[in-house]
């Protein structure tokens, strides 16, 4: 199997899906000739032409709103917001229209679109280029919010998102775009949306995370297990909403202890929902409070202070120890 980074894996998904299904179109700022500022859509313009790979005017509501029209009209648009920090401009079209068209029209019209956007910190970027605001989307009924963590699942989830009959917000951890490679099969792979993945089975502690926090956390977990012999169950959430809470609560019922690691700000980040679901379905199994490791309730600082505000490996490790020792 060829080894690919996440950008290459996403690009592969595009090439194969657009080859297979000519209703798939790609649009956004600089996604065409330039191949996207992160090169995720590289080569598509030449391969599929400017009618299917559109460099749009600079207007996020316009991109989302026209994509909604295209989706209703029989296409499968995959629109890019250049950074998630600018996606709020497209948010009204998502909340007011994309998320509601199926209900509003009693199923007569549907919006099979994907809205991709790079999110998250750690890349020394300017203001608005480092946020993790998946909550805004996950709190919106009628859409799905998906966050891959590595090249292989990014590719398989993007294919699923494109084929999904509903609007999917596809949050791409930009920090992981080129951070590492994985084997990605040439042959098609599709993962189910709305399902979390237990990547490491364990019995003493459940750790839940997603996106760019996944790999950082995985490294901490693996080192910790090696050094201490503790058995950790690690869950990669993959879909934020609708949430596969059963995978989490089944694990917590087994381990009795849980740490959630999120890059998002604390108040009303996805960890809050995970804790609420554990409360609903597994409270009496808890032997310690669920520990949340998260950004603080501040605007993401400019990059000189960014790393300090995001979860750090040592902090994750301490959270694990404290939860185990509680």
């Amino acid at each position: 199997m060829p080894k690919m980074n996440m950008v290459q894996a996403l690009n592969l998904a595009f090439h194969q899906e657009m080859e297979k299904d000519e209703t798939v179109v790609v649009m956004g700022e600089d996604v065409g000739v330039n191949g996207g500022v992160f090169r995720v859509t590289d080569g598509l313009y030449n391969a599929f032409g400017k009618e299917r790979v559109m460099d749009t005017p600079l207007a996020e509501s316009g991109i989302v709103g026209t994509a909604i029209g295209m989706a209703i009209g029989g296409l499968k648009p995959v629109a890019e917001m250049q950074f998630s920090g600018f996606a709020y401009i497209g948010f009204p079209q998502i909340e007011n229209n994309a998320a509601r068209m199926r209900n509003r029209s009693r199923g007569q019209f549907t919006v099979p679109m994907v809205l991709r956007m790079p999110y998250g910190g750690g890349v020394r970027a300017l203001e608005h280029h480092s946020e993790s605001k998946e909550t805004y989307w996950a709190h919106t009924a009628g859409i799905k919010t998906v966050i891959p963590s590595g090249p292989r699942n990014a590719r398989a989830l993007l294919v699923a998102a494109i084929r999904d009959p509903d609007p999917v917000i596809f949050y791409e951890p930009k920090h992981s775009y080129r951070a590492f490679k994985e084997e990605v099969p040439e042959a098609e792979e599709v993962m189910e949306l709305g399902k979390a993945q237990v990547t490491h089975e364990g019995t003493d502690l459940t750790v839940v995370t997603w996106g760019s926090m996944y790999h950082q956390t995985r490294r901490v977990v693996e080192e910790y297990m090696e050094q201490t012999g503790v058995s950790v169950e690690l869950i990669d959430l993959l879909t934020i909403a609708p949430m596969d809470y059963k995978t989490i609560t089944a694990s917590v019922r087994k381990t009795g202890r849980c740490v959630v690691v999120q890059e998002a700000q604390r108040t009303l980040g996805p960890a809050s929902e995970i804790i609420a679901l554990i409360n609903d379905h597994a409270l009496m199994y808890l032997e310690a409070p669920v520990k949340r490791v998260s950004m603080f309730d501040v605007t993401m600082p400019y990059f000189s202070r960014e790393q300090m505000f995001m979860p750090t490996p040592k902090q994750i490790r301490r959270a694990m120890s404290e939860t185990l020792d509680f």
Binding site: T23, V25, E51, R52, M54, T56, P57, A59, S61, G62, V64, G65, T66, A67, I68, G69, M70, A71, I72, G73, G74, L75, P77, P92, Q93, N96, N97, M101, R102, N103, R104, S105, R106, G107, Q108, F109, T110, A141, G142, K144, D164, P165, D166, G194, P242, M243, D244, Y245, K246
Partner: protein
């Protein structure tokens, strides 16, 4: 050397049949008798349906609703210019236009009584539901037009309707711009009825016309007498024709007037004088069409009476159907969250059903 001028940029103005009933023969659109009578019929149906709904609302039998009285020429005239296979992307103040698209009257009644069951058009799957979020639909019309072209439907167009107020929204700007840059077959019709709830047109924009906003996007713009169904038809038909031939989008401004309240929740006496409204009474689009048809010998008083009776029966029937409507299943909203079920939503559906059961038991 003087400073140089760029332009001049122009937009057009069109009136075919003026308020005194004077017809400009040169500009008269070539409409068949069938089309003319269809146009008139739906203008009338729209008016009568509005009146009935207003009554039902006042009796507490419908929720809050907007009426369209006075604007019939604008939405019926424009919708007459498109085909069933074209896309119609309206707002909410174009009842007669929706009825021309085949929407059953009963659906409108259900809609305004809080049922999703009434918010789609079972007879035409290229008519988008009522859009409450002002201006946002204009972008959908651009996307739909784009999709149709890309999918090889060479001559499908999308007609979108918005209000003068909605034109202030950023989405309208972005829609005009995308349509122009992509050269999509989209026709934008601004129903300038002079009011956005209590906000008069002059607080909405400083430009003399809405039509001239086309210049910002490098596309044709035309202002028409929006109470002149022939002018609205002619301008829209021309724009539709251009769009079908690959000539891109057009902005049409139909100058009309909102004769009644914004919605039944609104009291216009708070913000506008009766005189302002009376000024427009003489420009009534229905009377104008009636006189035109009579002059053309296409219509008689007897036919008029017949039509009124027919329409009354049609509306009566719709009201009956509406009153006999039996509510669908309570958990229906769960059917329209996603196209494929997710267990967590299914659990919540069960919770809802249990809640309803228990609430009834606890009674």
């Amino acid at each position: 050397m003087p400073r140089t001028k760029l332009g001049p940029y122009e937009v057009e103005y069109l009136q075919v049949l003026d308020e005194a009933g004077k017809l400009d023969k040169d500009l008269e659109p070539k409409l068949s008798k069938t089309d003319l009578l269809k146009l008139y019929r739906y203008m009338k149906l729209s008016r009568r349906a509005d009146e009935r709904m207003l009554k039902l609302q006042r009796q507490g039998r419908l929720g809050t609703l907007p009426v369209c009285v006075g604007q019939e020429a604008s939405f019926c005239g424009s919708v007459l210019a498109i085909r069933d296979t074209d896309w119609f992307v309206g707002a909410y103040r174009e009842l007669g236009g929706r009825l021309m698209r085949g929407e059953p009257i009963v659906n409108t009644l259900l809609y305004y009584n809080g049922y999703e069951e009434g918010s789609y058009n079972p007879n035409n799957d290229r008519t988008l539901p009522i859009q409450v979020v002002l201006g946002s639909q204009t972008l959908h019309a651009v996307g739909l037009a784009y999709a149709s072209r890309l999918r090889g439907e060479k001559d499908t167009v999308a007609l979108t309707i918005l209000g003068d107020g909605a034109s202030s929204e950023g989405d309208f700007h972005e829609a005009m711009n995308f349509a122009a840059v992509w050269n999509t077959p989209t026709v934008f019709l601004v129903q300038n009825n002079h009011w956005a709830i209590s906000t008069p047109r002059d607080i909405q924009t400083k430009s003399e016309t809405f039509a001239q906003k086309a210049i910002a996007y490098g596309v044709p713009g035309i202002q028409v007498d929006g109470n002149d169904a022939l002018a609205v038809y002619a301008a829209t038909a021309e724009a539709v024709e251009r769009a079908r031939k690959g000539g891109g989008p057009t902005l049409v401004e139909a100058v009309t007037y909102r004769m009644l309240m914004h919605t039944t929740a609104d009291d216009p006496s708070k913000y506008r004088s009766k005189e302002a409204v009376e000024e427009w009474q003489v420009r009534d689009p229905l009377a104008r069409m009636f006189n035109y048809l009579k002059k053309k010998k296409l219509w008689t008083d007897k036919q008029e009476d017949q039509l009124e009776a027919e329409i009354k029966a049609e509306i009566d029937e719709a009201v009956k159907a509406y009153e006999n409507f039996t509510e669908g299943k309570p958990d229906a909203p769960f059917d329209y969250v996603y196209g494929e079920p997710h267990y967590y939503l299914e659990e919540q559906r069960e919770e809802l059903l249990e809640k309803i059961r228990k609430d009834a038991e606890d009674a």
